[in-house]
């Protein structure tokens, strides 16, 4: 799993952007979605998650606000910006290309 984690880490930002495309969300919910989508095979460390939030917010790709929970502690919610959507689309195209190239390069030649 550790090798896969290394490969995945480079895509943390894009993964978060993807999960924010259709609705605003908070840290734990995002991480839970990642777990569910991968059938419990992948989960971000909190440290990784919040570093990514900060990076994305500074770059203007996401924005944050405090929710007004009636019960329990306040949550910080994140929403994707127009710039965030653009970056998501570009990264997705880049990934499709990369995937194709790697697939081609790693394919065993028939003798």
């Amino acid at each position: 799993m550790s090798i896969t984690s290394d490969l995945l880490r480079g895509h943390t930002d894009t993964i978060i952007l993807t999960l924010l495309l259709h609705k605003d969300s908070y840290g734990y919910e995002i991480n839970k979605s990642i777990q569910e989508k991968t059938g419990n095979r992948y989960e971000l460390k909190e440290a990784t998650l919040y570093s990514a939030f900060r990076r994305l917010e500074e770059a203007g790709m996401i924005a944050s606000y405090w929710g007004d929970e009636t019960t329990g502690a306040r949550r910080r919610y994140y929403s994707i910006t127009a710039l965030g959507r653009q970056v998501y689309l570009r990264n997705k195209v880049d990934w499709e290309e990369t995937k194709e190239i790697i697939d081609q390069l790693l394919k065993e030649e028939a003798q």
Binding site: Y28, E46, Y50, S51, R54, R76
Partner: protein, 217 residues
Amino acid sequence: MNERIKTHVESLFAGAPQTRKVLDLKEELLANLNSKYDDLITGGFTPDDAYRTVIAGIGDISELVRQIQNESAFNSHYSTEDRKKSALLTAIAVGLYILSPVAVILFDSVLHLYNAGPIMMFVLVAVATGLLIYNGMTRPKYVKEDETIVEEFKQWKSDTSEKKRLIRSISAVLWPLIVVLYLAFSFYFGAWAFSWIIFIIGIFIEGVIKLVFEIKG
């Protein structure tokens, strides 16, 4: 709210300056860790296992805390947003002070409700004073990061300017209040002949307050 998680998170942030950003991150982290913990318990984990799983999932947060710390440089330990909020609060408070005598004139001369005027005025003054005090108390304080001379100096500077700021705040509240009291007292009792004494009392009170701060510092 799980106390063990809270204690652990507090320990992760020990030594970090208590800036808005650091406090926000801590609050955000705590809320999310608690949700995770609750979910694990619902999923059949024992409290100990749930706690261990939650803590193990945090990872190395020290790098993140350090990054935020570096942002809070020497003089910018509160953000532009905080500054704007602070300026707005002060402006509203000053506006209320200026408007407070208007309440007296309005109720007395226009509506002829003789007791409502002073009451309204004191309510406005109370609200304005509350705003100024809230504003003074909620500014973040610089806490030294380690035991170096530079850090000592930063904290000393923060403490000193904090004290100055407090004295300034008190003066800012005191004098409009005295003017208001002077006008209220004079109008209400028609005591213009001797009500000016309140200004001398004001100077005396301000002197005493400054003295108290000097002795305490």
